[in-house]
């Protein structure tokens, strides 16, 4: 079984680190420490951390912070970032007003 699929591994107590206070998700103002804490609460994927704490749910939709959130989760779980399941990409690529998204015009 892949290490990360066994959610019962004991990650032990969180040892505070010097840079826990640094903002990682600039849109939702989530710090490194908060992300580490979520991992210790059992959130082992980007999507679970995102849904619990909101990094990656802000205006830029994770295009700025995903890379660092992933590295932090990987380090906390002692695995390579490649093993951490990423967030899923969804439209729209950029913020778009409701009235514009709904205003469908024929392409001539």
């Amino acid at each position: 079984m892949r290490k990360l699929d066994d959610r019962n591994i004991d990650l032990g107590e969180i040892i505070p680190e010097l840079d826990d206070h640094i903002i990682i998700c600039r849109c939702e103002e989530i710090t490194k420490g908060e992300i580490r804490e979520a991992v210790h609460m059992g959130m082992f994927t980007m999507t679970e951390v995102k849904r619990l704490l909101r990094p990656g749910m802000g205006l830029c939709q994770g295009q700025t912070c995903s890379r660092y959130v992933r590295n932090i989760i990987a380090k906390e779980l002692g695995v390579s970032p490649l093993e951490i399941e990423d967030n899923v990409a969804r439209p729209p690529m950029r913020p778009i007003e409701l009235q514009v998204f709904g205003n469908e015009v024929e392409s001539e």
Binding site: R90, P92, M93
Partner: protein, 526 residues
Amino acid sequence: MKRYHVIVIGAGPAGLSAAIEAASHGMTVGLFDENARPGGQLFKQIHKFFGSKEHKAKIRGFRIGEELLAEAEKLGVEVHLNSTVMGIYFPMNKITVSNGESTTSYSGNNIILAAGASENAIPFDGWTLPGVMGAGAAQTLMNLHGVQPGKRILMVGSGNVGLVVGFQLIQSGCQLEAIIDAAPKIGGYGVHAAKVARTGVPFLLSHTIVRAEGTESVTGAVIAQVDEYFQPIPGTERHLDVDTILIATGLTPMSKLAEMTGCDMKEMGGKVPVVDQYGMTSIEGLYAAGDVSGIEEASSAMIGGRIAALAAAAKDGYIEQNEFEKSYSDYQSSLEKLRKGMFAKENRGKTLAVTDEGLPISTNLLKHGFLDEEEITSYPGMTSRQGIHPVIECTQNIPCNPCQDACKFGCIQVGADITRLPIADVKSECKNCGMCVAACPGQAIFLVEEDCGDHMAAVTLPYEFRPLPEVGEKGYGLSRRGEEICPATVLNVRLNPVFDHTAILTIQVPKEMAMRARFYRGSRKD
């Protein structure tokens, strides 16, 4: 819903080239870009390109962009600007595009994704302060909009982006305080580092940024030396008096659109679509070209765009199989030429000790950004002899040969393999025309007359700053490290249109400085 034969998403080097290639085979092409002006990174790149003539070497990036755009429009490509592709929806090959007022849907027999890449950063204390931005962001402000990103600037990262943008900061009148990198050696081309070092900018390797100072915006930076695990070493902190911190620590492909389609993805400096040699993803008809499918540079992105469009044309029967194979092999060999040399992917992470020619690679260049004076005699481009002759301070194998084409008198040879170091041919006679000095993308060629009488020598160098010094002006000759090492008098300033904004400056220096003085600074007025 309007259906194009080819939809291209992103009008940068890869996208423009793909659109041109597809249209040249008679396919209808819709090219979409979210910006008001097309060209992607091309229009921010004001330096002359590397490579060879087929890669448009020695032409400035934004001029290449203008050329490609004109060619695309001539071939009938429909360019949709201010048009953001909000999503790709398979299996209907449909994209929804917003122009800020409404959304319109288009479909395409083929979709070529050329969305490029965006900048990484390294989160540090205060990295959210106004005044901390990506190096590409500063490049956009300077080169696209003519606005300085700041006054006193720290560059974090010594890859090609950090070096090229660093040089462009100086061209824009900003004060570049230092270039730092946590790595023990400079990441970008030695010639790019040398052009910055000789203006006096220090390189601090094995250094990282600890924090940005300031509450409302950046008022300073604290840097520190790092150990082999890139952790700051306590006690080595140093304050830098800067108001802007630029981050140039790599790029990540903007592959969200590809991910959305569900095509197979893999890890390569960020998630990228898995593509075959023609750039086709796991979904038939969906292609990816340029940085979005793996970070390289604009030159290879242009060829990648061509290949993807060529494959789409062949798939849909616009060209015969043999014509396709011929064009493909030409493009592929052109691409292979760029993927060689010291900075090629296969050498990434390796510490090479010698060049292809077996000559020692300058460690000083890698550590401090300039050649050490003892090292200069061991390179084929750096000979010493009577009369004016080119001194080519190009000491790393990079795919580039415009210097060979620039000299009509055979003074410079690179040979068939464009990654070989240029050789100064002692037999041919230099006519002091300055073409090679202006052509060199790395600004690494000087014309030196080691002895022009009464203990004086003349050094001709590339000068891309303003205001230009006047003939007869007295100033200082600067060493490769940027130190004032001797008095200098301006003998000549040539700004011929064919030099494309690279002024050719000749200064007179004491004879013993002929192989040391490599830059000029007017006497300080303050």
